[in-house]
């Protein structure tokens, strides 16, 4: 294929991945909708032995995902069982579509790299596509390892929004400005994308944690606990997952933004750290996530406070990507 052929293929593939991902998101929404009439975990008849026998066990055990939905609702031969089957089917379809969207998007990113003959993350459009590919990769890996299908709606929804809006800052494939001619582009930006992908998963888990703990406070009676949210894992398990992905992402962010970034800045601009808006927000993001890690070990901040900080941290990360790129001028102005 010619360079132009690769570029065109990449564009079509990005569009296709966006559509497939949107369908995946709709399926996750359907899973949620079908799950609305179902009883919660604890009240469901014939629930799994683990949840039935030792609630304390499930409390600290990370594997409380909706993987075992069928057993939870299984023997209850009411309308809920039917909805449960549909909800299950919707989830499986959603996961398959997510895998498909991931494969198409990875192909798009690879083709973009071949078209431009460099790493495919040299401007805002490419970063958005590559970063969503990373987000989906992180999500699918975690689905394998930790049964986190319950995060699917948030992850795919976010991906659709980013891919869909990426058309507004689309740039055709081409070579880079001299400041980006460096292998640090590979290291620095890849680290930012991986950390960002994990930050999104952590933010999703923290958001659902906040929702569910609010629901728990508002619905003290287990008999009243009907709906999708009660099929989510325990708040403890969500908190645990959020911590794990943040503990994974934070050192990568430290390396990418505060070590690799300054080293490259020294080569490109002659100084390690110059309080460029991108650097400022990378620093703010780092400090907020450092705050999150401390909050988890501070009385009065555990749980809710920490989860809110995780969301604030992700908001800072997003602002650094969108706000600083589009509204603030600085040395990192690679949006166009």
């Amino acid at each position: 294929m010619t360079l132009e052929g690769y570029a065109n293929f990449s564009n079509y593939a990005v569009a296709a991945a966006t559509v497939v991902l949107a369908l995946a998101w709709l399926s996750y929404v359907a899973e949620w909708a079908f799950g609305r009439r179902q009883l919660g975990v604890a009240a469901a008849p014939g629930s799994t032995t683990r949840t039935a026998t030792a609630s304390a066990e499930a409390h600290v055990d990370g594997t409380g995902g909706p993987g075992g939905v069928a057993t939870r609702t299984g023997s209850g031969a009411d309308a809920g069982a039917d909805a449960g089957l549909r909800s299950d089917a919707a989830r499986r379809i959603a996961l398959s579509l997510t895998v498909l969207a991931w494969a198409v998007l990875v192909a798009a990113v690879v083709a973009r790299g071949l078209a431009a003959q460099r790493v495919p993350w040299g401007n805002m459009f490419e970063f958005a596509c590559a970063a969503i590919a990373v987000v989906l990769t992180v999500y699918l890996i975690l689905v394998r390892l930790q049964q986190v299908e319950w995060l699917g709606g948030i992850v795919t929804g976010f991906g659709v929004v980013v891919l869909g809006s990426s058309i507004t800052y689309y740039v055709p494939a081409g070579p880079l400005v001299p400041a980006l001619h460096s292998y640090w582009l590979v290291i620095h930006v890849a680290a930012a994308m991986i950390a960002g992908g994990a930050f999104l998963v952590g933010a999703g888990a923290s958001a659902l944690y906040l929702l569910k703990s609010r629901a728990e406070r508002r619905t003290p009676q287990t008999a009243d606990r009907v709906g999708y949210i009660w099929r989510l894992p325990t708040t403890a398990a969500m908190d645990q997952l959020a911590y794990r992905v943040h503990a994974f992402a934070f050192p990568i962010w430290t390396f990418g933004a505060l070590i690799a970034g300054p080293i490259w800045a020294q080569y490109a601009w002659g100084r390690y750290w110059g309080w460029d808006p991108k650097e400022v927000w990378a620093f703010i993001t780092w400090v907020v996530y450092a705050g999150y890690l401390h909050a988890r070990a501070t009385a009065g901040w555990k749980g809710k406070g920490a989860a809110v900080l995780a969301l604030v941290g992700f908001a800072c990360f997003l602002f650094n990507f969108v706000g600083v790129n589009l509204f603030i001028s600085g040395l990192h102005s690679y949006a166009k």
Binding site: D61, V171, F255, Y267, W275, V280, H294, A297
Partner: protein, 520 residues
């Protein structure tokens, strides 16, 4: 750091107490300052304090933008000045916050290092009397003797690199000591990085200079356009290298939507590391600085320097040379100033613009369509009078002081506009001489900087990240096994306690019990 503290209790108790003696008060302040809650608060405050610097232009980052901002916000600017918003990162309040963070950090590290040193020498703690009270415990019966059970458990746990003690009928094990070590290493490294960066700035220097093709630079203070150095740097110690710029080449995207985007910049020439040394060829590109004698030379800017010849009213060449015009946008629309103090009968000054590829749009002034020099045009306004260069005050070469100058006009009193293509000459009215656009060169802006000891923060951060990974991934755990003989059988109780919640204790206990039951 990552463990609970007694901050709130201490605070509440002290708040109720009557006036404290100074010593106690200081201790109270120190406790507050080094508590986890304060550390968290200071971190968030630091994040908050950093925000204004990204929204308002900063003096130290882009002084030009600060001027533009001042002009656009005449009412806000004085207030921002008072609050130090134009230089957030050197302002007293920002410095106060990060110094408090630093104190809080040190105040956390010191006591915790002591605690950790004691913990390293301590043995695993005794088993609680009642295992049922722990979050996770298991019980099973076996035919093995209690001693054999404990020996087997000890072997399994030692293989997992836990610290194991057997006392009587119970086994005590603790693992994950390295978590706190990693935690301490990371925080110590943070301090080293902050101190290292500050130290490097004290002994280093940085300066910028504009050099035109064919021109040279020697590393002395007078040759710099701007220069700053640390408090402990002696400008006598500037390394005595010099360099010449032979050629600068810039390429730009010729077609497509990104037409005009820069593709490569390359400066070539020779340098000598000390007077009399053999000149060595060099090649500086963006991302590829030149290293000479502890100083790094970076290519941080470029532009055009039209060669201008000014002949005065007496017919003498009063000025001839390349004048750097500073680019103002992506198409290298550049502005510059020519000062001719030697012109007779009166001094001459010119202010104007340079367009590398000029195109006419309608009736207006030409604009630049492309950054490469395809159709260079020089536009100038002329002034006569006193340039103000004789009173000894320092003057910028890029600004014309018009206080004592009058603009040269045409017969109809309209300002004289000079537009010159390469090689063209224009006569000035009233026999004041002529201006000629003789040739075109390019200039580079080089930055020279030296920051000794920078490997310290670099190593600091690298080791710090390793410590961070350790502190986030290692989870300390305590395990106890109790084996009691009840006649023919042995009842074995196993219990565990995670000091940091990690969610897999139940599964691990099951696995551990299986290992014990299978026997060694």
């Amino acid at each position: 750091m990552t463990d609970d503290d007694n901050g709130p209790q201490t605070a509440r108790r002290s708040a109720l107490a009557p006036a404290l003696p100074t010593r106690h008060f200081l201790r109270w302040v120190w406790r507050q300052l080094t508590s986890m809650r304060t550390a968290l608060f200071l971190l968030l405050l630091l994040a908050l304090a950093a925000i204004p610097g990204s929204l308002v232009p900063q003096q130290g980052v882009d002084a030009q933008q600060v001027l533009t901002y001042r002009a656009a916000h005449p009412t806000l600017a004085p207030l921002w000045d008072k609050l130090g918003v134009f230089s957030v990162y050197t302002s007293p309040w920002f410095s106060a916050i990060y110094l408090l963070v630093l104190v809080s950090l040190v105040g956390c590290i010191l006591p915790r290092a002591g605690v950790y040193a004691r913990a390293l020498r301590a043995r695993p703690p005794k088993a609680p009397r009642n295992f049922d009270r722990l979050p996770h415990s298991r019980t099973y019966e076996t035919d093995l003797a209690p001693e054999a059970v404990l020996a087997g458990a000890s072997q399994v746990l030692r293989a997992r690199r836990a610290r194991v003690d057997v006392a009587g009928d119970e086994l005590r094990a603790e693992s994950g000591y390295l978590r706190e070590a990693g935690n301490l290493v990371f925080h110590v490294c943070l301090v080293i990085v902050l101190v290292g960066v500050a130290g490097g700035a004290l002994f280093g220097y940085r300066g910028g200079a504009i050099i035109t093709e064919g021109g040279g630079f020697s590393n002395t203070l007078t040759q710099y356009d701007d220069f700053s150095s640390g408090a402990l740097f002696d400008t006598e110690d500037l390394p005595p290298f010099s360099l010449r710029l032979d050629d600068f080449s810039a390429t730009f995207q010729q077609d497509g939507p990104q037409r005009g985007a820069p593709r490569s910049f390359e400066a070539t020439g020779t340098y000598t590391s000390e007077p009399g040394a053999q000149p060595t060829p060099y090649d500086i590109e963006v991302n590829h600085p030149l290293e000479v004698d502890g100083t790094s030379v970076f290519l941080i800017g470029q532009g055009y320097a039209p060669v201008i010849r000014v002949t005065d009213g007496d017919g003498n060449v009063a000025y001839e040379g390349a004048v750097p015009f500073l680019p103002a946008d992506g198409t290298y629309t550049s502005t510059g100033v020519v000062k001719v103090p030697d012109a007779q009968p009166e001094q001459l000054g010119f202010q104007g613009f340079f367009l590398p590829t000029a195109v006419s749009v309608g009736d207006g002034a030409p604009i630049s369509a492309f950054p490469a020099a395809a159709n260079p045009v020089l536009g100038l306004f002329a002034y006569t009078g006193d340039l103000g260069m004789d009173d000894g005050a320092a003057q910028s070469v890029f600004v014309l002081d018009k206080d004592e100058l009058t603009q040269v006009t045409m017969r109809d009193d309209k300002p004289l506009r000079i537009l010159l293509s390469l090689g063209q000459v224009t006569e000035l009215p009233q026999g004041r001489g002529s201006v000629e656009f003789v040739g075109l060169r390019q200039f580079v802006k080089l930055q020279f900087s030296s920051s000794p000891g920078l490997s310290i923060p670099l190593w600091g951060t690298s080791i710090g990240v390793l410590g961070l990974i350790m502190s986030l991934s290692i989870r300390p755990r305590r395990l106890w096994v109790r084996a009691r003989s009840t006649g023919s059988r042995t009842v074995v109780e196993v219990a565990g306690l995670d000091r940091v919640s990690r969610g897999d204790l139940a599964a691990d206990l099951d696995h551990f019990v299986e290992q014990l039951q299978d026997g060694p």
